[in-house]
C-alpha cells in the first residue's frame, strides 16, 4: 500500500466543503485504574500492575474510581458541558485479546458530560467555535505487541504479546459535533483543537497529557461534500494520529485523497484509516459502518454514577482558568511584544512570570530573569528552568533590591547563584557574601580618579564627544570596587569629571 492519487489542496478546497469531527481520548493520571486498585503507571514491567479485576478473572467485579469521575466532570466543565445527574456505564461487546473481559466497560447512551463548546484560536488570531457533543468515561484496553511478520500488525504476526498494565486505565473520550466552515484551515483547526484539549487537561493536572506516550490520542473524521449540498459526505476515521503535526497532515491528506476520488466519480468507503507519519499517507483499516454491532447494554455490575450538584459545583470552583483566556489576559496586562510573549509561552514559563509579577516585580523584569539569566543557568546545569531551586518570590525580591539601588545587576547575579547554591534567601546570601552597593561617593570618586590617572586620554575623548570612551574606565572602576557599585552611577561621575 502506498500513497493514493491526490488532488492539489487548493483545488480540493475550491471544489468541496470540508467537514471534520474529532474524537480525543485523554488518559487520566489517577493513582489507580478505572475499576480496580491497580497502579496507573506508564512504562512498568509488563503485567505487573494487574489484578483479578483488570485481567477479567471469573467472579471479579468492577468498582468505579471516584477520582476518575471527578476528573471527568472537571474536563466536562472545562469544555463548557452540562454534567449528567445520573449516568450508567454500558458494556461494549467484542472479542479481542487486549480486552480482558471481551467487553469494554464504557459510557454509551448516558455520557457524564454533554453539549459543550470551546473557542479555538489559530496562530493568526482567527477564532473558531467547536461544539462538543459529549465527553464520556471508559477504560483503556491492554497493549498488544505483534512479533514477527513484516508490518508489526496482527495480520501475519507469528505471535502477539499482551500487556494488561494499561487495561483498565481511565480514559475520557471527548467527541466534537461535526465542525463546518473551517475550509482550507480545517487541518490547522484540527491540530489547534487537539493542542487546546491537551493544554486544558494539563492545566487541570488530570492527565500527564504526553502525546508521545499516548496520554492524548486523536481519531480524526473527515468528509467532503460539494459546496451547497445539505447531505454530509461519507466520512473516514483516521485512527490514533498521535502528534499535533500528524493531526494536521492526516486531515490535509484525507481532504486531498477524498477530493480526488469524488472528483473522478468515485465513492468514499466508510472505514478507519491508519496514518503513516514517516511517509505521510493514510491506508485503509477495517470497514466501519454505523451498524457495527457491539451489543451494548447497561453494565449490570455497576450502579449509575450520580454526582450531586454540590459536588459538581465544588469541582467547578477548583477549575483553573482556561489556558487560552489566561494567555489573552496576561498578554494585555503585561504589555509584552508578541515575540517576547511567545517566548515566555513556548518556554512554559507563564506560571513563573505571573507569580514573580504577583510578588511585586515589573513584568518586563520578571520576563528577563526567567527567559534570560535563569534559563541560561538552567541550561548550563541541564535542568528545566522550572525545576531551579529559586522561587518567583525570591526573584521578585532580588529585582526589588536592584530597583532600589541596593544591588547592581552583577551583584544580583551573584545573589541568584547563592540562592541556587542553597545559601538561603536573597537577604541571607547578601549577608553571607558581603554584597553591598557602596553608596559613599568619596571612595568611588577616589577609585575613578585613580583609573582616570592611568588612562589620561579618556577625559579628552569624552570632551571631544566620544562619550563611549568612558566604558574603559567604568570597567576598571567596577573591578576596583569589586562590583559593589552601580555602573550607571560610575558613568555619571566620570562624565561630571570631564566637564
Amino acid at each position: 500500500m502506498a500513497k493514493e492519487a491526490l488532488m492539489p489542496y487548493e483545488q480540493a478546497i475550491e471544489q468541496f466543503e470540508v467537514v471534520i469531527g474529532l474524537e480525543v481520548h485523554v488518559e487520566l493520571n489517577t493513582k489507580s485504574k478505572m475499576f480496580c486498585g491497580c497502579a496507573n503507571i506508564f512504562g512498568n514491567e509488563p503485567n505487573t500492575n494487574v489484578c483479578p479485576i483488570c485481567i477479567g478473572l471469573p467472579g471479579s467485579l468492577p468498582a468505579v474510581n471516584k477520582k476518575a469521575v471527578e476528573s471527568s466532570i472537571a474536563i466536562g466543565l472545562a469544555l463548557g458541558c452540562q454534567i449528567a445527574p445520573t449516568g450508567r456505564f454500558s458494556r461494549k461487546n467484542y472479542f479481542y485479546p487486549d480486552l480482558a473481559k471481551n467487553f469494554q466497560t464504557s459510557q454509551y447512551d448516558e455520557p457524564i458530560a454533554f453539549e459543550g463548546k470551546i473557542n479555538i484560536e489559530l496562530e493568526d488570531g482567527v477564532v473558531f467555535e467547536v461544539l462538543i457533543e459529549r465527553a464520556h468515561m471508559e477504560e483503556d484496553a491492554g497493549k498488544l505487541t505483534h512479533i514477527g511478520g513484516a508490518t508489526g500488525r496482527i495480520q501475519g504476526a507469528e505471535y502477539s504479546l499482551v500487556d494488561y498494565n494499561r487495561a483498565g486505565v481511565p480514559l475520557v473520550e471527548i467527541v466534537t459535533k461535526p465542525v463546518y466552515g473551517a475550509g482550507a484551515r480545517a487541518p490547522e483547526l484540527a491540530a489547534a483543537y487537539v493542542h487546546a484539549i491537551r493544554e486544558i487537561v494539563k492545566s487541570m493536572n488530570v492527565s500527564d497529557a504526553r502525546m508521545e506516550r499516548g496520554n492524548v490520542r486523536c481519531d480524526a473524521n473527515v468528509s467532503l461534500r460539494p459546496h451547497g449540498q445539505a447531505k454530509l459526505g461519507t466520512r473516514t476515521e483516521t485512527k490514533n494520529v498521535n502528534s499535533l503535526r500528524s493531526v494536521e497532515n492526516a486531515v490535509r491528506y484525507e481532504i486531498q485523497r477524498q477530493a480526488h476520488i469524488l472528483a473522478n466519480g468515485g465513492t468514499i468507503t466508510q472505514e478507519t484509516r491508519h496514518w503513516h507519519e514517516d511517509r505521510g499517507y493514510t491506508s485503509a483499516g477495517r470497514p466501519k459502518s454505523d451498524a457495527d454491532d457491539y451489543r451494548y447494554f447497561p453494565e449490570p455490575d455497576l450502579v449509575p454514577v450520580q454526582p450531586s450538584l454540590a459536588w459538581i459545583e465544588e469541582i467547578r470552583a477548583t477549575l483553573p482558568e482556561n489556558p487560552g483566556l489566561r494567555r489573552k489576559r496576561l498578554m494585555e496586562a503585561w504589555g509584552f511584544a508578541e515575540l517576547e510573549f511567545r517566548d515566555v509561552v513556548n518556554s512554559d514559563l507563564l506560571d513563573q512570570v505571573e507569580a514573580t509579577v504577583a510578588a511585586g516585580a515589573a513584568p518586563q523584569a520578571a520576563r528577563k530573569w526567567w527567559t534570560g539569566e535563569l534559563a541560561r543557568l538552567a541550561n548550563s546545569q541541564e535542568v528545566a528552568v522550572q525545576d531551579l531551586s529559586i522561587t518567583p518570590a525570591q526573584v521578585a525580591k532580588i529585582q526589588q533590591l536592584i530597583d532600589s539601588g541596593e544591588l547592581t545587576d552583577r551583584m544580583a547575579r551573584d545573589v541568584v547563584a547563592g540562592v541556587l547554591a542553597g545559601e538561603g534567601d536573597p537577604e541571607a546570601v547578601i549577608e553571607k557574601r558581603g554584597l553591598k552597593v557602596v553608596s559613599d561617593d568619596g571612595a568611588l570618586i577616589a577609585a575613578i580618579d585613580e583609573a582616570l590617572a592611568k588612562q589620561p586620554d579618556v577625559l579628552e575623548k569624552i570632551r571631544e564627544g566620544k562619550v563611549q570612551a568612558a566604558g574603559a574606565v567604568i570597567g576598571a572602576v567596577m573591578q576596583a570596587m569589586r562590583g559593589q557599585v552601580d555602573a550607571a552611577r560610575v558613568r555619571e561621575l566620570i562624565l561630571e569629571r570631564a566637564k
Partner: protein, 500 residues
Amino acid sequence: MSDLIHKSASELADLIASKSVSSQEVTSAFFDRSVELNPKTNSYLYLNRDTAIAAAKAADAALANGEKLSPLHGVPIAVKDNLTTTDAPTTSGSKILEGWVPQYDATVVARLRKAGLPILGKTNMDEFAMGSSTEYSAYGPSKNPWDLTRIPGGSGGGSSSAVSGHLAPIAIGSDTGGSIRFPAAVTGSVGAKPTYGAVSRYGLIALASSLDQIGPVSNTVLDSALLQDVISGHDKHDSTSLPQSLGSMADAVRSADVKGLRVGVVKQLDSDAFQPGVKACFDDTIAKLVAAGAEVVTVDCPSFEYAIAAYYLILPAEASSNLAKFDSVRFGLRVTPDGNPTIERVMAATREAGFGPEVKRRIILGTYALSSGYYDAYYGSAQKVRTLIQQDLAKAFSQVDVLLTPTAPTTAFKIGEKVNNPLAMYLNDIATIPANLAGIPGMSVPNGLAFEDGLPSGVQILAPAMQDAQMYRVGSIIEQMYLAEWGAPLIAQAPKLEVL
C-alpha cells in the same frame, strides 16, 4: 459420635462453643461421610481433608483462646463451585474451567473463613448455573438423597444433595432464577435467596449479574438465618451490594410470632399447573396459617405471566457477555486447532470444546437478543416486564406482609426426564423467577410429602425488598407448625443413604 451428622448447624455450633465436641470432630464426621457417600450422590466436585481439618483445628485453637468468631464458629460448610477459592479448584460445573485454581477468595468465602467455618469442599452444579437439575454439569448429575434416581434440583443440586443427605450441615448456594429454592424444595431442605445486594457477589462466577444472589442452604430455618447473618453486609468490591444492614435474621427467627400476619396467595400461581400433591401440601400450609390466626387474601400479579419469557431474555443476554471472558487467553482450557491457529480459531475451538449444550444455547439466545435492531424488541421489552413485575409486587405488598406460593410445580423428577426438553426444564422456575426479576427475598421451607410419590414439597415465602427478616419470621412460623405435627424436621423422614 455418629449422630453429629444429623444435628442442625445451630446445635453443632452450641456443642462446639461449649466444648462438648471439637470442630475437628464435627468436620471429620461430615468429611468421612462425604468421602463414603459422594460416589452415590455426586454432591461434591472436590473434597480436601487437609484444608478442612486445618481450618477446623484453627477454629478449635481460636476457641481455646476464648475467641468465638461467629455464631456458627467451627461448623463445617459446603460451598457451591461457582465461588472462587484459593485453596480449591473452581469450575462452575464447566470443562472450560477444569482444574482452575483462582488467585483470590470470593468475599463470601473470605467471610466464612473469618467466621471460623471450615470448608469441606466444592459442590456440583449445572454448568455456569444454567439448569434446574444438575444434569447440565460437565461432571455428571448429583442425586437426590430421597431417591437416587431423581434430580436434587438445580442449579445448586450439589449443595441441596449434600445438606439433605447430611454430607454437610449447611451449604452456600447461588440463585439466579431459583437455583437455591428449587433444589431446597425437591430435597426437603431450606434455602433462601436474600434481597439482591444483601450478599456480595464478588468472586461469584457471574451467570446473570442483575439476577444472581448468593444465599444459604440448610435443614432448618434458623441455620439459614445464622448463615445469612455471617455472609451478608456491604462489600466495597461489589458496587451493587447494599450499603445498609438488614438486621439479624437469627433474631427474626427466634422472635417469630404469627400474630397480625397478613399472607397473600398469588392468583397466577395457584393453579392446576402444579402437581396435585404439591398443591395439596400448599393448601395445607395455608389452612394451618389460617387456623393459627393469620389473615390470608388472594392478590393479583398479572405480569407474572410474562416472567419466564422476560427472564429467558435478560439472563441469556447478560450471560452471553459474562461468559465472553472464557477465551483461553488468560486462564482455563485452551484448545489449539490444527492448521493455522489464529487467535480467532483458538478462541472458537476452546469455546466449542469447553462449553456444554445449554451454555451454548443461552449464549446464542443472548447474543441474538442484544443484537442491533432486536435490542428494543427483546432485551428492552424484557426490562419493561421487569418493571411491571416490580409494580405488581409493590401493589401486593401494600396489602400483605408476605406472599406464599408453592416453590416448584412438581416434586423431584427422574434424571433424564426433561434434559432434552429445555422448555419443560425452564418451567420449573415459574414460581421462583419473579423474585429475581424484582430483587426481592424468597425462601423455600419444606411443607410435606406429595401424596402421589411421597417426595418432598416446599412452600415459597416472598417478602418485600430488604425485608428478609420478615421472610425468615414467616419461614420460622411455618417450620414450627410442621414441627408440631411431625415431631422432627421433614428431613428426618428421608431414607438412610447408607442403605440406598
